[in-house]
Amino acid sequence: METTQHKERIIVPGPAGFLPPSAAQLGVMLPDPGQGLMYGILEPNEEEVIEEMARKMLTSPNATIFPGPLVLWAWNDHAVEKAKAVLEIAAQIPDVLIIPMPDYRPKYPRVDPEEVINPNHPNLTIWGNKIEACIFVGVHCHYANLTLKMIRAGTNCCTMAICAEQGHEDAMLTIRDSDKAKLERVAKVFKRVREQLGIKLPGNGENVRFTGLQSKVHGGKTHANPLAFMPSAGAVSSAAAFGHKPEQMKREA
């Protein structure tokens, strides 16, 4: 079987230039279940993609996780479980930043790009924090696609998308159907790769690096243990208005 090892990469860290063609225009097609995309090439085994994600996040400067509304907002119990699993992934990456994409509205009069990321100008956040590897998780697909295109066009960041639906062809690395179970599997792969690379976590478990504002609101602390921020199911809001039910967001038994 032909693998990504034998093909020329199509979607690579940029800057790709002024309005480069989208990955779809370049002929990149989304993966089927169990598959992933690695630099625009179909990878039949998504595990390979997850391992490459881990290597990039563990070895690139200012690696960042960008959680979106689908894991930031307590739509239902499953969303809360997914948020916990995202924090488990974060717990495997020393010095990782967590910068939220809380919603998709344009920020005015100006955005604080070092504290939040926004799909209308995500490049500012990448530039402002000198981020060279990042994971998007829990972002609605349209807004993730806008963001990924703009980052590829204007920055040198290696983008990764952990998607609950079909994946994202404009990300350098992407996997699909990511429910709680798959997110937990991603965390385990990250742990394994970290150990293979001989990268150690801080002894006190405080591996997430605060942004400036995060540090201020936490009394000047610079780092935190992500597992200490575990969201609780008690915070679940009235997402029923959106038709969300926990069983609808689950993909694996």
Binding site: L19, P21, S22, A23, A24, Q25, M29, L30, P69, W73, P102, D103, Y104, R105, P106, Y108, P119, N120, H121, H140, C141, H142, Y143, N145, L146, K149, M150, A153, E165, Q166, E169, D170, A241, F242, G243, H244, Q248
Partner: protein, 463 residues
């Protein structure tokens, strides 16, 4: 004085006795006869929605590929109605325009029967298409239909649907665009829809219309697509004429729209992250960098590209090809022109000319790779169309440029609502093969390597 107990025998003017048992004519207080007929007594307990309530949900795969079908001889408008009946539609908004009025009237019947949950008449097409946008954004499955000038009146909101990533299905029963006023079929309006960013299918007949509508809903709502689908047909030829349609039983329907799975969150005016309408309008350029709009357009067309996978999966391809390999000539057609082409092919066969047919089902996305492959060895390609501007021929020529050395005849054309005599198509095939000058298609509308390049340049300047 007592009255006689025996009733007097009444007679008509001829003196014959009137024996009918008709009741005496009633009058209103003014003495005028009351002519209205009282509504027949009905069983008040009968639920008009009873049959609709019994519908069971089946998977799209079962509905499209496995469910038994029976054959009916119905009009295109009726086939659209039957497709909507089985499509679990939440909302349909109507504004009457010929020839779509019958379609939306029939959807109204479905509403009465409970197969469509909401239905109303809009102010006009701009209002209808705007309301469809709001409804789709709120998460429901929407259907509407219009034609000709109605399409153009609604075009601004229609063109905004893809950018808002709104799944919906609009049926365009093509007619001429005014002026002068006419209501005859002519599919010029499709050319206005091709660059909106929506998916556009072109139905040849009543069966296509039935299938494309149902499959259009499912393709439209795929998460990685999340775009409106337009299903066009040639008005009157398809909408008012009858044809055989193979349909599934009425007791099954498609699954409902899963709005929570869309590429954008459903609209909630009160809660983030979808509170766009209450905050800085994403459309307002003051707050938007040009870059986001440019990328947004890229994403819409990327979604159009992604729909190819589902068109292949559910419709069996963006085109169909018949007897193309080794043919002397190929007809490339869509809609009613494909039907006329079939008859032209039969006449050509009688003359000993082997002609293949490529029927384009999906105009957006356009089957570029498929055409390049199928036309690679073609010598003559004829593109008959029911419009003046040759929108299909231009797309075909652009798609295969550099991939085929075929002579391309952008015609014959009929417009203004007339039918296309199949002999016109046969003339272009025979003329194209023998080099005889066409009486219907100007030299400037001939393209390809073996034609007058100056004439082609003239044609290209005029498109």
């Amino acid at each position: 004085m007592s009255k006689s107990l025996e009733a007097e025998v009444k007679t008509n003017p001829q003196g014959d006795p009137i024996t009918s048992m008709e009741p005496e004519q009633k009058t209103n207080p003014q003495g005028d006869p009351i002519t209205s007929v009282a509504a027949p007594k009905t069983d008040l307990k009968k639920d008009p929605h009873a049959e609709a309530k019994k519908q069971r949900i089946v998977t799209p795969e079962y509905m499209f590929f496995e469910a038994p079908r029976t054959k009916e001889f119905i009009t295109g408008s009726e086939s659209a109605k039957e497709a909507v009946r089985r499509s679990n539609v939440d909302l349909s908004i109507a504004y009457p325009i010929t020839p779509q009025s019958e379609t939306m009237q029939l959807i109204g019947v479905l509403y009465g029967e409970g197969y469509v949950k909401e239905y109303y008449r809009g102010e006009e097409e701009y209002g209808v298409m705007s309301a469809i946008a709001g409804a789709s954004r709120a998460g429901v499955r929407c259907f509407t239909a219009t034609a000709g000038p109605g399409t153009l009146r609604g075009l601004e909101p229609i063109a905004s649907w893809p950018g808002h990533r709104l799944p919906a299905l609009a049926m365009f029963t093509c007619r001429v665009v005014n002026a002068p006023l006419a209501i005859q079929p002519d599919n010029i309006e499709i050319s206005y829809l091709l660059n909106c960013g929506m998916i556009v299918f072109h139905a040849e007949n009543q069966q296509d219309l039935f299938d494309f509508i149902m499959k259009g809903f499912i393709i439209s709502e795929q998460n990685d697509v999340t775009l409106p689908v337009g299903v066009a047909c040639d008005g009157f030829f398809v909408t008012h004429a009858r044809g055989y349609v193979h349909m599934q039983e009425k007791g099954i329907k498609l699954p409902p729209r899963e709005a929570w799975r869309g590429a954008v969150p459903v609209l909630d005016a009160e809660n983030p992250p979808a509170r766009l309408s209450r905050d800085a309008p994403v459309q307002k350029s003051n707050f938007m960098a040009y870059n986001i709009h440019a990328v947004w357009q890229q994403e819409v067309w990327a979604a159009v590209e992604r729909s190819r996978k589902y068109i292949n999966q559910y419709m069996g391809g963006l085109l169909t090809a018949e007897n193309v390999e080794g043919a002397d000539a190929i007809l490339v057609a869509s809609g009613s022109a494909a039907a006329q082409s079939r008859e032209a092919i039969r006449l050509c066969k009688d003359k000993g000319i082997q002609v293949g047919l490529i029927k384009i089902r999906s105009l957006r996305p356009f089957p570029i790779p498929e055409l390049r492959q199928l036309c690679a060895k073609a010598k003559l390609i004829v593109v008959p169309e029911f419009n003046y501007v040759a929108w299909l021929a231009k797309d075909v020529a652009a798609a295969i440029y550099g991939y085929s050395k075929a002579k391309i005849v952008a015609g014959p054309h009929v417009y203004g609502g007339m039918s296309m005599p199949v002999e016109m198509i046969v003339d272009e095939v025979t003329g194209g093969l023998t080099g005889k000058k066409s009486g219907n298609v100007p030299m400037s509308a001939m393209m390809g390597t073996d034609v007058d390049q100056a004439a082609v340049a003239h044609f290209m300047q005029n498109i």
